[in-house]
């Protein structure tokens, strides 16, 4: 693996997404500010804004860096560089994740910090962690579909699927007694069910990314 080339490609993608990253950071700070205003309405509105900004960042990053390369016919330029397709795939997965994950960690950490600081909503801690990882799954799904299909339509379908899944998972999580019953309490309750769910979510992320590498390594036509 030529790590120096992978790094060059990642830095290139960051350069082209710098405006989206800055916009998302501003949106994230604004959302956290609304959450910090306190109370149920502020928390709900802030959370919706946070999710929207995170989805926007992942969509802009994947659409711009991955689908955009094919649509704008710059893929031939990238692939004419001294790289293999596996190195290209690595750069795209890492590039997209390194744009999204630091932001995701900062926002989730900020959000959890506010929950811990506000006794009235501490019961939402476990649910917030589970839903935050679910958003990460949606991003990984979008990256995987974009790389494997190289199709804008399929990537949009993956984005819609991820968003629908977010609502479905949210509903189901709220109806798991050990998590749902604690949601509106004033204490943090981390249950075995939450551990199982978060583990399953990270396993799904590993499966999505591993599957993407596997499929990409078997591809024969790249342009």
């Amino acid at each position: 693996m030529n790590y120096s080339m992978v790094k060059s490609l990642i830095l290139k993608d960051w350069y082209f997404q710098r405006h989206a990253i800055l916009l998302a950071l501003a949106g994230g700070v604004l959302s956290l500010g609304i959450v910090a205003l306190g109370g149920q309405p502020g928390f709900t509105l802030g959370l919706i804004l946070l999710v929207t900004v995170m989805v926007m960042l992942s969509a802009m990053s994947v659409m711009g860096n991955t689908i955009g390369e094919r649509e704008n016919q710059t893929l031939a330029f990238s692939m004419s560089l001294p790289i293999s397709y596996l190195e290209y795939t690595t750069s795209k997965i890492l590039g997209n994740l390194l744009i999204f994950v630091p932001y995701w960690i900062a926002i989730v950490a900020g959000c959890l910090g506010l929950i811990v600081a506000a006794p009235a909503i501490r019961g939402l801690f476990a649910c917030t962690v589970i839903m935050a990882v679910e958003i990460l799954i949606s991003t990984c799904l979008m990256i995987a579909v974009a790389l494997v299909t190289e199709s804008k339509s399929w990537t949009i379908a993956a984005m819609v699927t991820g968003n629908v899944a977010l609502n479905v998972v949210g509903y189901l999580v709220a109806h798991i007694p050990s998590i749902g019953n604690a949601m509106w309490g004033k204490a943090i309750q981390w249950t075995p069910a939450a551990t199982i769910l978060v583990t399953a979510e990270f396993a799904l992320i590993a499966l999505l990314l591993g599957g993407t590498f596997f499929i990409q390594s078997r591809k024969k036509d790249f342009i």
């Binding site: 030529n2 080339m5 060059s8 290139k12 350069y15 082209f16 704008n72 016919q73 710059t74 031939a76 330029f77 692939m79 004419s80 560089l81 001294p82 790289i83 293999s84 190195e87 024969k220 036509d221 790249f222 342009i223």
Partner: protein, 298 residues
């Protein structure tokens, strides 16, 4: 030492509606090969296989001593590639592209890049999306040449260029040929462009290489013989005749194995040779394609 820059041996690639069949192609180091074919003939597929962007179903490909597609990363370090459907990043400037490529290619020549920018009348600080098509092609060519590649692969680079831009691009390619170690593969359906710069010619049609030779050999061995036949004389059977045109008593024979002895052979058979015409590369290409297609349908 292997003196072949590119070597295709029995390469095949199948798609639903098109297949590349048993491609054998050899490009000696330092040569300039014109790769001519109609649209959809298989030029771009062949070049993509050469670049490792498409994997062949069968056969072996070696480029600059590397096996493709396995060693494509190492091979591409010494290849400059410009393709008609390749675009640079629109939101970035030419200067950004140069800075991006500089650390990747050890032989990157910044002063050459800057002199090319002046010669091509390109402003490095201008964004690519603000350039005309001709300027974009020149920018891509600049980025390929400044790498100082051992192999330059150009897939229809002059397509869509206005005559002035075409002359400028071809002129710079001619200058690049001064380096005798540099090998160039130049694909086009424009035979005039290819004829100007190539010393070897390969024709491809419907996924098969139909002929490959030195340019001069092509021009020497292809001729049109204009005959006059007396009433009781039939068209003489001559070696290498690929096409018989003209009218009944005034046939025109196109041969790909012309020798001066053919004229006396025609006279011996009772025909009068009115003229022996040389052919342009375009005429040779068209005759070659037609004769092959006729053979296939016969």
């Amino acid at each position: 030492m292997n003196d072949l820059a590119v070597q295709f041996d029995g390469v095949s690639k199948r798609y639903t509606h098109f297949s590349l069949e048993s491609i054998h192609l050899e490009l000696p180091t330092g040569s300039i090969m014109g790769f001519i074919g109609a649209n959809g003939a298989g030029k771009s597929t062949t070049i993509r296989i050469l670049m490792g962007l498409v994997h062949q179903d069968a056969g072996t490909v070696r480029v600059l001593g590397h096996t493709m597609p396995a060693d494509q990363a190492a091979a591409k370090l010494d290849i400059g590639f410009v393709s008609e459907d390749m675009r640079l990043y629109g939101q970035a400037t030419l200067a950004w592209h140069m800075e991006f490529l500089k650390p990747i290619y050890p032989r990157w020549d910044q002063s050459y890049a800057e002199s090319l920018a002046k010669r091509f009348d390109l402003k490095p600080q201008q964004k690519i999306k603000g350039l005309s098509h001709g300027q974009r092609v020149k920018a891509a060519l600049l980025l390929a040449l400044a790498r100082r590649p051992r192999l330059l692969v150009l897939d229809e680079p002059t397509t869509g260029l206005d005559p002035v831009a075409r002359v400028e691009v071809l002129g710079e390619l001619m200058a690049a040929l001064a380096d005798e170690e540099r090998t160039i593969l130049f694909s086009s359906h424009n035979t005039l462009d290819v004829e100007q710069i190539s010393d070897q010619i390969t024709f491809i049609d419907r996924g098969r290489i139909i002929d490959s030779d030195d340019k001069e050999a092509f021009l020497d061995r292809w001729r049109r013989l204009r005959l006059v036949l007396p009433p009781d004389v039939v068209v003489p059977r001559l070696p290498g005749v690929v096409e018989v045109g003209g009218s009944g008593r005034l046939p025109v024979l196109t041969t790909n194995r012309f020798e001066p002895a053919m004229v006396s052979a025609c006279n011996d058979l009772g025909a009068t040779v009115q003229a022996v015409d040389t052919m342009t590369l375009e005429e040779i290409f068209v005759a070659n394609v037609h004769s092959r297609r006729e053979r296939l349908t016969a």
